[in-house]
Symmetry: D2
Subunit: 402 residues, 4 copies
């Protein structure tokens, strides 16, 4: 079995492993339009392979089910109609078992395609499909977490305990000289089109916090009245605070002055040493202002990240525990002050696949790094994640800059 | 086993039989705030027995699960907090299996209570609980139908075929003298509090259509431009037509001039001889005006219904096939022009159980008769069903009057 | 000048007198979709005469301005397009002066028509136009009051003082025998089509409160927790209470435990002896339940009203001060428990004018009597006013029944 | 009279001149939450001087009217409460005359302050107040235009004719070398804080269109199906197209294939040689993509603008008529692809005045240049205007880049 076939098998199995502890009910429900059911993720990632690989490349291609082309199309206008996003949770059919059978059928056919010595273009597309599925693996966990949080019983995803983190090291600001820097991917492996082209940007001297902001530090912000002082907030953020939409990090729970946090391990006492997570850009920005700091630009972040260690692979962000620049990867995605925009000379691919990234480059902000829920091997310094400023259901955190 | 215990067992088993062909996914999803998941119905009807019978009457009562008191409270403020209605579909836990276990536990305990020679008050409450569950049995079918209709694959609930109905007999108007009539229940069996007190109303002479309006007759209305002529419509109804919310009966499908209808038997050719169903009061009223008729008042309907035959028990309304006053029961609920209001001297029961009917007596309209989905034994001439004028997901139909 | 011409002149002048203390800005703004600008009322009442009288009956009719047919059409689909109701306040053109000129032009032409010995049909239509304008005169005051109340400076419409009312006489319940009653108009003067046909209704024995509920009595309801007890409320009303939409009568103001009320005379101390006004049906119903009473049906009200004295003509409801049945007219419109429905045999007029009343007969409730803002000569025992259950900007009050 | 006093008098008088042709009704109405009434602009600009200059600096300061502090506060949380923005059009009081008296009173007091040899800080604040009023002068025209456009009679602001423009010169792309550029204001006059600090940015070589896109060119885009092809649009823009919110430039009117445009001169035939205006960023971006171009970044625009000529001062954008880089100023604001973000090291002023710009730096896009409605002397190459991507009621246009 070739390397690509091995990668294919590994990634595809991991999706099923994420779903394994869940009932078919858990996999079907949708808690908000932004979040999709686990079953839908399992089907859509399969649809991606069926539509972009099998359909053009498999001899005598027949769709697994003719309705799936529409049901599991996320947003590709070039492919055609789409089942409306806010109604994904109403698809009780096909059942979870039928979706598993869909996966098995496509896997079998993909393995045949892979066995046939795919050319460069096909191999690239296959890698894209795997990277795509890894992105959805992270969403499976964050979307599921959001769903479970709607249940007043706050069920846990995993029975495993969550141990207290060691006290966080002091937060220090590490200085960087900046200069005329090369930004964007320049390796020989895979990257998304939004990481290209590599280009020059001038980066003024700056300093970056050595670690993420902790729950303990964020709690000080709350207790000192951070959510009651409009001078700390962007106007849009303050509007949301006043509307009662943003009052504390998304999954924090307060009762009689005691703080707890809903996690994939269930409700836990708030661990002051772990990084604060599930905050919006508005909160990250307000916290930074309160701390007389600011959020980094994405260029600053990437400039600093080149020597950072990759890590990850848990269900809740771990605390910092080393020296130098820590938690650049594997704990929380880090809000930057950079809006999501094309790099100079950016050109999306031709055809429907070109809708992957480019058409979303407005009114979103770049997050850098990776989170505890990001699959191993999926992160790199040039990676650009992006969400609207108000999004909180991802594992988002705060890295300060000055 | 006493009569009541037999009735208890029969009603409770029927709910499970309704759910039997469905997957746990089918039972969990919620298609709109007005419709509840089948699983929720199974749990809520059980909650009714647990809360209103076991809790006050079982020695050493312990709740099956402390969270269920809130999760499965529909609208009883007197009981306390309620899980928000539009979020019932997000309760993937408890699972369908756990809800079945909840039912079994409560059934076991109820049977013990029943075996202990319940007094009159308790027996009355038990009958109310069974009548309540029968109401939810009809809702299980209509709510499920609405859910399945959201799926572009239009899955059928039952694999059984739906045979074409025989041609409908001519629609005739049967004359009634009216006079000072007694309205309301006066039998010795069960009735809901909203059917009481029996009281006098003056009913002017009137005529009632011998059968329900058929699909064929309604199609004529559509084809003659009924949905394009504001002079036929109540202002609120016309607003909905203009907003595109009401364009044809809820489950009708048109493609290239051919009409089909989604039913619990799947998508079927429109059967012109069966009664039109899933129409709002607005549509019923507009149709009647087009036909130079009107809808009956509830007093007229009840006046006429006293000799009508009870029937029912299918998954789609049957056609008319006899003489005289037909389809008063067992095909479609029939919109009346009467708003849902208390009878003179009406008094709800004390306590939370008094919230059953009285607090809904505003901005709803009375429907009379029963539908194909109404359980056997649940209908009677004095029965008052009620829904907002725009509701269409019940098996609602049109009985004309003059 | 004939009687009709005199009536025409008197009614038309009164509209201008209502607008006289107002600036053109006051006359242009619209505070909510339900309320219209004074200028719009001045124009629409003129449009009514132009469209329904001049257009069909004036030789060589030419419209005053071709755009006005759409701009000032309220809701007559039979006439054609309508400027959208929520956007009436954006019509800064035509100016108030131009609308006054429009009135003068139509008045001149109407006087010519009136001088020509109009036949019975035309005379009836003219009376309808005047009654229509009187209805809008009341709306001019209530809509303006709503607009002024949006201004944090709470400007007064009139500089006149509002004297304290004498203490209210004790509230007594007056008994009525009921029986088979004739309901509906049967005089020889004008009535609206919704008061016809006169017909028989059976009215069970009942008792009616001798006067309206006072501010003082309603304040007791508030202070005893009336707005915090769901058992007193219709479910829809309680939803609005919980949503913060209904917390006290519409124009009541509380500061440090002291209650004031915004009136057309400006903000005044709450006069405990005057009737409570600007309450919804939900509040009237909840108050009645708290008082172990109920709201009357419209038949009961009309049955009792036949000997009641007509009075009215102020800018705020006066207190009760006599014996027997008081305040049936001239203080506040009185919510009934009757939904607005056609009388048996009701038939609207042919053509667009038939849209006047009939198409609104759904989801509204009947109010009986008249208010301080109702023009003299406009009220009668059979008069049926109607508003949605949540409407509060009219001079609505509470008459209890048992 | 000093230079500053002269400037004060000139700017203040110009606001009144803009309002002069309007009735008090025209000045009072508000067509949407984003647009304010002319009267409100006249009052708010006066409030700015009263609050930020007179209150701290006038000996024995007394407010003109105590309620105005809240009524005319736009968004300064540091000052206190604000009348809700969407309800500005309901303020029929104070009247337009009272607002003129407010202006006269503040002007008199400001002139006294100006006569007293203001120090540097006070003078700076005064200049800020004048620049602020100039910004509102542009808004008075664009907000008024939006209001007039809601009236189906499409009234003109000015009776002056709008002559056809000369044919537009060919659109050429002018090449720029780019390099490490200094961006931001570095003159000795006034600039807003968002133009600072001047800083270095690397600008790659680029080309900029010699003039704005014309109506004629944009019409080709429409006629070739530009609004029907999702591949041209950002996803958010396409959603708006599908929702029917964006179908053609805001004030374009089509009837029977003939295109006209509503302007402050009334409805005019679409002038193919004038620049297209009142387009959103979504439309600008889609047009650029169709033209195989892109929008410039703000750094590119500023880099190119340094030699451009300033011009302006009309009520509708003029056509291009010269050589080289034209219409950088005085025709239409030009959408850039740059989100509105702080320059490196940006720090807003202390206190409430610091809310002027900084708190809006999220989810908005920078527009560069100036428009026909921008007051003379208000534009400069470093000026940063900003609006949400969907805003269309400003004089926005399209400058292409490559």
């Amino acid at each position: 079995m070739g390397e690509l076939a091995q990668a294919y098998a590994a990634v595809r199995q991991r999706s099923l492993r994420i779903a394994a502890p869940l009932s078919s009910e858990d996999c079907c429900a949708q808690s908000m339009p932004d979040a999709s059911p686990v079953k839908w993720h399992l089907a859509h990632t399969t649809w991606f392979f069926e539509t972009f690989l099998l359909e053009p490349h498999e001899p005598g291609f027949q769709p697994h089910h003719p309705a799936f082309r529409v049901l599991f199309n996320s947003y590709y206008n070039g492919i055609g109609d789409k089942h409306p996003r806010p109604r994904r949770g109403l698809l009780t059919r096909p059942s979870l078992d039928e979706v598993r059978a869909y996966r098995a059928d496509v896997d079998r056919r993909m393995e045949a395609l892979l066995g046939g010595q795919p050319g460069q273009a096909l191999a690239s597309l296959m890698v894209l499909g795997l990277q795509h599925e890894q992105q959805h693996q992270e969403l499976m966990l964050t979307d599921l977490k959001h769903l479970l949080a709607q249940n007043p019983m706050y069920p846990a995803y995993t029975p495993e305990a969550l141990d207290p983190a060691a006290p966080a090291p002091a937060l220090e600001f590490i200085e960087f000289d900046g200069g005329l820097a090369e930004i964007g991917y320049n390796g020989r492996g895979f990257c998304f089109d939004n990481e290209l082209p590599r280009h020059r940007e001038y980066v003024a001297p700056f300093a970056l916090a050595s670690r993420l902001v902790t729950n303990g530090e964020y709690l000080e912000f709350i207790e000192s009245g951070g959510y009651r002082d409009p001078s700390l907030w962007l106007a849009e953020g303050w509007d949301r605070v006043c509307a009662g939409e943003i009052l504390q990090p998304l999954y924090w729970l307060e009762e009689g002055g005691a703080w707890r946090e809903f996690t994939l391990h269930g409700v836990q006492p708030l661990d002051l040493a772990r990084p604060v997570t599930h905050v919006s850009l508005y909160e990250a920005d307000a916290y930074a202002r309160w701390r007389k700091s600011r959020l980094p630009t994405e260029a600053e972040w990437e400039f600093a990240a080149r020597q950072a260690a990759l890590s990850g692979g848990s269900l809740h962000p771990e605390g910092a525990d080393g020296e130098g620049l820590q938690q650049m990867f594997g704990a929380c995605w880090q809000w930057t002050s950079s809006s999501y925009a094309p790099y100079p000379g950016y050109a999306p691919a031709a055809g429907a696949i070109g809708e992957y990234n480019g058409k979303f480059m407005v009114n979103q902000y770049v997050l850098r790094g990776s989170s505890c829920a990001t699959p191993d091997g999926h992160a790199r310094p040039s990676y650009r994640n992006f969400f609207p400023a108000g999004a909180r259901w991802q594992f988002t955190g705060i890295r300060l800059a000055r």
